[in-house]
């Protein structure tokens, strides 16, 4: 099977959805003529032109709000935040307008908008540019939030996000844009396209002794930790990739925990009210009698993102930390 990069997979999703639905429009800083700050949208402006691929000024509150307004009228904007970290200056438009207008109008309005871009640390850009707000976005009823770990998931989930009639916060990762994975051609797929519904988790690795519950790039860290555990300690870890934070596929988590009886929640969020806190709470509630050990968590170390590269590297979860935690309960 062919291998393509994460950014290439996203680009294919955009191109296919631009073809399918004339209401789909891509907007953001440098997405058109510059070909995308991270080259995710490379070539799309050449193909689709000014109407469908729109460069915006550096004005997140303005252009995200403009996208929300257009979505109320039936346009399907796919809005790029060059960094998800810039959500802070568009907060009111994202939360109050995209997130709340359906409820406050008693269901008269919906916002079929996607807000997307990289949401990760680890790139030496300091605390302001290293936020991972999936826990924050998923905390608002009305919002959906997706964090794909692979090119395959990025393509399939992006297509679902664009077709969804609710606001979807789509969080990518600059460290993954250049990574390649197997992604089938549409002609190789029974439905003729790659489409992954929101709210369906994926078992990235089957195992029997411990469950790693994770999302985004942390899934790859878990796979590395699982390899070490297997090779060096004979422990079989199962890696559950949530893919979507809200809606959340809880059943897949519980099934895994009922099988392994041990769980660690791993993510690149900060620990306080991180995604792992929600999952750990749910596991103890629904799987209490199945557990042979406390549910543990691995998060980003609880200080703002450190600039200095060697320190920043150990601030994010890495395989040895997960291995040590696993060994403490296995």
């Amino acid at each position: 099977m062919r291998r393509i990069s994460y950014r290439h997979a996203l680009r294919e999703a955009f191109d296919e959805e631009l073809t399918r639905d004339p209401m789909v429009v891509l907007m953001g800083e440098e997405v058109a003529q510059y070909n995308g700050a991270y080259k995710v949208t490379e070539g799309l402006w050449n193909k689709w032109g000014d109407k469908r691929i729109v460069d915006t000024p550096i004005s997140e509150a303005g252009f995200i709000g403009m996208g929300v307004g257009a979505s109320m009228l039936g346009i399907r904007p796919v809005m790029e935040l060059m960094f998800w970290s810039f959500y802070t200056v568009a907060w009111d438009q994202i939360i109050n307008n995209a997130g709340m207008v359906r409820y406050m109008s008693g269901g008269l309005i919906n916002c079929p908008i996607v807000v997307r871009g990289p949401a990760n640390g680890g790139t030496g850009v300091g605390a302001t540019h290293s936020h991972t707000p999936e826990n924050i976005m998923a905390s608002f009823p009305g919002m959906k939030c997706v964090c794909p770990a692979t090119a395959y998931d990025a393509k399939g989930l992006m297509k679902a996000a664009i077709r969804d009639n609710d606001p979807v916060m789509f969080m990518e990762n600059t460290l993954l844009y250049g990574e390649e994975w197997e992604v089938p051609e549409n002609s190789e797929l029974p439905d003729g396209e790659l489409f992954i519904p929101l709210g369906v988790a994926d078992i990235k690795l089957e195992g029997t002794d411990i469950s790693f519950i994770s999302h985004g790039r942390a899934v790859l860290t878990c796979l590395e930790a699982a390899r070490i555990l297997k090779e060096e300690h004979g422990i079989s870890a199962e890696v559950v990739d949530l893919r979507s934070i809200r809606p959340l596929d809880e059943e897949t988590i519980y099934e895994s925990v009922r099988k392994t009886h041990r769980a660690i929640c791993i993510d690149e969020n900060k620990p306080f009210c991180g995604v792992g806190a929600q999952i750990a709470s749910s596991i103890q509630l629904h799987c209490f009698d199945e557990l042979d050990a406390p549910v543990l968590r691995v998060s980003s170390i609880d200080s703002p993102a450190f600039y200095s590269p060697p320190i920043e590297k150990i601030q994010l979860p890495y395989a040895d930390v997960i291995v040590a935690k696993a060994l403490s309960i296995c």
Binding site: P57, A61, G62
Partner: protein, 358 residues
């Protein structure tokens, strides 16, 4: 209500107004009376403890919403801030659903989920009703973007108060509107007070607030809102610019609110004098101005004008009864209207957990 004041006819002769039939002119009057009576009854019930939260009254500003909305065609849209009852009634929302929303009832226009600041009627091209100061201006710009994208000849009238002009989102939206040549008419309803702070104490400006548009190369104009005919004549120019040239305009319409920022604004008689309020009521009240014109032009008799007002009062009182007698929402409705996909039982709405109670 104030007595008849000297009618102003200058703008009544403008082509857009001269084209109105007597019935259409009477309808403008009826709409303004309905807004005022609706709010007076709403205030009575607010003071009677029938509703919670805020009640931002539009009384004194009726000519602005009615005048602007009366110009709207099929593809023209409107969005405003939290002082939104007047615009809602002007586009044709019913008094019953509007009053019931204030009471937090199931029969309210937002099923009791939005309250006073969050009226919506997208079927009437009315997109709210927004609580955060100036947050609606980027949305209105987006509606204009959508109209242009779809190739429709229309515009969005995006209203805000004078207190909103200092929010960054307004300036970001103006830049986008000019840059993308969007058919949006941004209307500053200047009632002189940014909550309790006068314009002079809240905004830096050369000649007026609308002039800030010049910095973005956007056409702007300042007008007086007490005469509904002036509102119509001059807003029409801006709407034509939007329709024909796909260009934005910023209008600053001078108006006045008799009551406080909200009913909870206990200080509203401290930051301005009683005489100031009385002078406006006596000399500049938009309903009295229009009434005077209609009587002078023999379009209405004084008795007929009073009858229209009394009908509006009766309608508002009946809406109060309707609201009071309506049921409160059921707790089971908490999870309705959160996600479109869940509400519509789609495959997407059925995969994964959407709500996290236990």
């Amino acid at each position: 209500m104030a007595k008849t004041v000297a009618p102003k006819t200058k703008h009544a002769d403008a082509p857009i107004n001269a084209a109105l039939t007597p019935e259409q002119k009477i309808e403008l009057y009826r709409k303004m009376c309905r807004i005022r009576r609706f709010e007076q009854i709403a205030l009575k019930h607010y003071n009677g403890g029938k509703m919670g939260g805020f009640l931002h009254l539009y009384i004194g500003q009726e000519s602005v919403a009615v005048g602007c909305v009366s110009l709207m065609g099929e593809n023209d849209h409107v969005i405003t801030a939290y002082r939104d009852h007047g615009h809602g009634l002007a586009v044709g929302m019913g008094m019953n659903e509007c009053m019931a929303e204030l009471f937090g009832k199931k029969t309210g226009c937002s099923k009791g989920k939005g309250g006073s600041m969050h009226y919506f009627a997208p079927d009437k091209n009315y997109w709210g009703g927004h609580g955060i100061v100036a947050g609606q201006i980027p949305l209105g710009t987006g509606i204009a973007f959508g109209l242009k994208y779809k190739g429709l000849k229309g515009c969005c009238l995006a209203f805000m108060g004078d207190g909103a002009v200092n929010q960054g989102s307004v300036h970001e939206a103006l830049n986008l509107a000019a840059l993308f040549e969007l058919p949006v008419v941004v209307i500053i309803e200047n009632n002189g007070y940014s909550m309790g702070t006068s314009q002079k104490r809240s905004s830096a400006y050369a000649s007026c607030l609308a002039e800030r548009a010049a910095g973005y190369g956007i056409a702007w104009e300042q007008l007086n809102g007490e005469d509904v005919f002036e509102v119509r004549a001059r807003v029409k120019v801006a709407m034509d610019r939007a329709h024909n040239e796909s260009k934005p305009t910023v209008l600053e319409i001078a108006t006045y609110r008799y009551y406080g920022h909200s009913v909870a604004d206990a200080n509203h008689k401290k930051y301005r004098t009683k005489e100031e309020i009385e002078r406006y009521e006596l000399e500049h009240d938009p309903i009295s101005v229009l009434r005077g014109y209609l009587i002078k032009e023999k379009i209405l008799t004084a008795a007929a004008a009073t009858r229209i007002d009394q009908e509006a009062l009766k309608e508002a009182e009946d809406a109060g009864v309707f609201a009071e007698q309506s049921p409160f929402p059921d707790p089971g409705e908490l999870f309705d209207d959160v996600y479109w996909e869940v509400d519509n039982n789609t495959a997407s709405g059925g995969t994964g957990r959407h709500f996290f109670n236990d």
